[in-house]
Point group: C2
Chain length 199, copies 2
């Protein structure tokens, strides 16, 4: 009943993560209703981003040139590397202003069930960076999920073997700041207990 | 911290309805990660839809040519017009297979608080269609919301004056099929009582 171009747009919106059939339809109708300028601005932004933004050759973060801004910045501590799953994870860490080292974006987390093996991630390049330069510490900041934890343990083992003098650390688990004990799940609460600090 | 093209893409996604800052960021990072073919397919679909799909000159439904498929279809009852707020509302009505007439898309609902007045909607064109041809009945299928109801009452008054021989009807209010009485809000339940039918 809808014309092929409209159906095609609904299909393409539906491919985006977290966008179901109904939302895709709503977005398509919004695009249809919106002035051409505004709708084409989205099309152009997609095109521009795919044409201009690539990955940093060193850390695989997003980058407009061959090397990203953080890797280019000489004031960032090159002996400290924070490993994240995705480029999007760099943003919240940067916002904390707690970390002044460099990054390494893996491009995902190990998940044998989804067919993600070590060779699918930028792990070889991480080991190369850690072995080569005078890296002091690797902070593994993968997600606190099953796959993120598995990836962290895998990396810790690998780095212990390949670069034994480098310290490998993991972000702390515990209660989110401002949260109520009552609403904490028992795994988080258990970890918060184990990792309790002296006042 | 993000490059301008990435920020631009986040902004453009954020303009879509129901897409907040966080979702816009997630979608942008998905586009960045996805193969160029797939990402550009969305950009092309947006462009194509804006270049090829316009509004039907008669009913303001979406249309690839000057007249939409429903208005072109001689088997559809031209004496029966269903008035909807948006082109997207045609789809669920067509799916019911209950309606074999034509449509008229208003392009919104009256909402003085948002600055939507009768002249902002395709109301003049509706009156023209109803006055001119041998229209028998106008089914007002605007949403069951405050603005939808206000629009329905406005249209009923206007048509009673301008085309007194035409019957104006409204979709029934009542309990959704398959719903529990227990969970019905009192306004819906009240209407379902008033509109009760004999068994």
């Amino acid at each position: 009943m809808l014309s092929p171009p409209v159906n095609r747009l609904i299909t393409e919106f539906g491919r985006l993560p977290g966008i179901g059939q109904r939302t895709a339809q709503r977005l398509a109708f919004h695009v249809l209703k919106t002035p051409p300028d505004e709708a084409l601005a989205l099309a152009d932004a997609i095109r521009e981003v795919k044409e201009t933004v690539g990955l940093c050759e060193t850390c695989f973060n997003l980058s407009v040139g061959p090397e990203c801004r953080i890797c280019q910045d000489a004031r960032r501590d090159a002996e400290l590397i924070c490993v994240v799953e995705e480029a999007g994870d760099v943003i919240p860490i940067e916002r904390t202003n707690e970390f002044r080292g460099r990054y390494h974006v893996l491009g995902g987390a190990l998940s044998p069930i989804d067919g993600v093996d070590p060779e699918d991630l930028h792990i070889t390049e991480l080991v190369g960076r850690v072995e080569g330069n005078g890296v002091r510490e690797v902070v593994v900041a993968t997600n606190a999920t099953t796959t993120g934890e598995a990836t962290a343990l895998y990396l810790a083992d690998l780095l212990r073997e390949r670069a034994p003098r480098v310290t490998v650390t993991r972000l702390a688990s515990g209660l989110p700041v401002g949260s109520d004990l009552e609403y904490a799940d028992e795994v988080t609460l258990g970890r918060a207990f184990r990792a309790r600090t002296q006042l």
